[in-house]
Symmetry: C2
Subunit: 347 residues, 2 copies
DNA sequence: GTCAGTGCTGCACACGTGTGCATCACGGAG
DNA sequence: CTCCGTGATGCACACGTGTGCAGCACTGAC
């Protein structure tokens, strides 16, 4: 917050002028030599480059970006990097960014609007060339920044889809429908949905996918079988025990994501029941750990790094002036594992 | 890699001179007004600040850092942000950094020396005020940067501890000793160690902690019960099946970390055995998911965000010229859960 | 009326880099 | 010898901000 205080002065790095002095030329010539400008004599250029190498000269990105009006940095806002889904996405973003010479600023918002404002302000001062936002719940805050400077913003699995032009989004509806259909195919008739009360857009879509599957199969939609957690494992405990306390508990649960599924399974075991013998469970994400769970989790895979890559590539396309597909809808894929099985009895 | 190409020019943000023109003063006065310099008339200062607010003026960090010789950025190098341990640490780092007005550059090295060099070079060009490195295997690469510029570097759970002055490290030896002692107290006599072939320093320490526990308990150390994975779940499959194929399989396994334990448990079940009835398992880290596993994992907790916070606070202390404790050894704590139990029979 | 003091403001430079334009040396053609 | 083209280099400015120092207007004391 303050950043003030007495600072120990580090050794000043070599500047372009230092190299120029050593080579007995002007700093312009050094600049051109390092950029392989054709107008510089090849011999002197090589001599300059050698000197620069020897003295470990690194051009100051700050000075350069001051004149070029381009920082070659992007800002990434996430709710929490501890969220494994987010981490997977950021991996993809960073990979593409680094390959194209961009550095990435990472900032957590903790889903706190005030913090999110501060983050955007700092990105603004840093003059980032673009911004990627994952799973934000406060999309509206970006409008001022977007309109004042023309910084391209790409939203990834955002909760306010219509607000912005560019986005990468998983097909939640279809994924959830696939998960529910899988359970129906196995013979389940009483299927619950365990959602995320904070997942404004995605929760709505996943709920409607689940609902559509029921409708298509001629099953009636039961409000009592819809409960909500917070998208985390611990948050699934209460809603799951709520389902278990029901007079006719479900034989299967479609969970908002893998972490919710993890918490749900934990609570099912705590109640002395087994997965999938007593209750089948599906997740959403296919986190790396999900295949190693006991039982391994049936889920809808989101290609997280790939989605991150797409977001960053969209950003780069925008920065290059290329027209880019505005809204990318990414299909999920059903991964069947051992957490789902036919129900014990016809209920 | 290139970063070149035709760029769409975004709207140029308001500069300090624009505000100066609007306020009919020189840019110096604007600068002073915004910094609440006492020599500026309070009325005009307020007028200037209002104008700046209205026009959404944000000072350019690049220009500022050019003259102040301070970027208020730090670089964080990690092997992979997808690693949940790393993500936990970065959360702590980012929290403290943001609170002190620092922005953080995040870069993955993928444990690739070449990539790590590129990362350090880019941090160098960005003139970061400090660097945090987590779990690096290639510490020696930082020496050139460290010596040329005087950029403070803090290493977190690094594998080359003696190379640098400042570090935050978990007490691996004691943690591993605690885990092994816990198993011995439960009555286990044939205890295996499943390590990480890449964890140069930490693996050595955890192995020696395990070994010391055996010695103290009067148990003989058996080379055949020491196997190595790669610190990831899938990497634990092969060494674990190796242990299971042994003529006298162990009744308990001390694992290098939670992810290895996850893979080991998976393989144990694949062999038709149960945890903890047939084999007890301990981990190291206490990842967020570990409490929700089936069975919940007994492990040594590393306070990941806290360690990240300590690393960043060390950095800030160094930047403020305060002397700081050079090497912080963080104690782990044994968390007993259901993956450990007394052995079935006396072996 | 002069002078010192005070309160405020602008000038001018610095930070490190990129680049349009002028300049310079040189060589060849007329 | 003059003229002009060519290849290489430097000058000078710009980018946006911070700051030492000079300078201004005004006030009050003598």
């Amino acid at each position: 917050m303050d950043g003030a205080g007495i600072f120990k002065t580090p050794a000043k790095p070599a500047s372009i002028k230092d190299i120029a002095r050593l080579a007995n030329v002007s700093h312009s010539t050094v600049s051109r030599a390092l950029h392989h400008h054709p107008l510089v004599n090849e011999e002197t250029a090589e001599r300059i480059r050698k000197l620069a190498r020897q003295h470990g000269y690194r051009p100051s990105a700050a000075a350069r970006s001051l004149v070029t009006q381009r920082s070659y940095t992007i800002g990434v806002v996430v709710t929490s990097i501890s969220d494994p889904f987010v981490a997977g996405v950021v991996t993809g973003i960073e990979e593409v960014a680094s390959r194209h010479g961009f550095s990435v600023f990472l900032a957590n918002s903790n889903a706190d609007p005030e913090q999110e404002i501060r983050v955007v302000q700092s990105f603004d001062e840093r003059r980032v060339d673009g911004i990627v936002v994952t799973s934000s719940r406060v999309g509206a805050l970006y409008v001022p920044v977007l309109s004042r400077r023309q910084v391209p913003i790409v939203l990834l699995n955002n909760q306010h889809p219509s607000e912005f032009a560019y986005s990468v989004v998983i097909d939640s509806t279809q994924g959830s429908l696939d998960a529910a259909n899988h359970l129906i195919d196995l013979g389940h008739r009483r299927i619950a949905y365990l959602g995320d009360e904070f997942g404004r857009q995605s929760d709505t879509e996943r709920l409607s996918g689940y609902r559509e599957a029921l409708t298509q199969a001629g099953l009636r939609f039961n409000r009592e079988l819809v409960v909500h957690g917070d998208g985390k494992a611990e948050g699934a405990i209460r809603p799951m025990s709520q389902l278990l306390a029901h007079a006719h508990p479900p034989t299967a649960v479609v969970c908002y994501n893998d972490m919710s599924a993890l918490g749900a399974m934990h609570q099912i075991r705590a109640a002395g029941l087994r997965v999938p013998e007593d209750i089948s469970i599906t997740g959403f994400d296919d986190l790396h750990i999900s295949q190693f769970l006991n039982p391994p989790l049936t889920t809808i895979r989101q290609p997280m790094p790939e989605m991150g890559r797409m977001a960053m590539e969209t950003l780069i396309a925008l920065l290059s002036g290329n027209v880019s597909q505005q809204n990318i809808l990414v299909p999920g894929s059903l991964i069947v594992r051992a957490s789902t099985a036919p129900p014990k009895e016809i209920s």
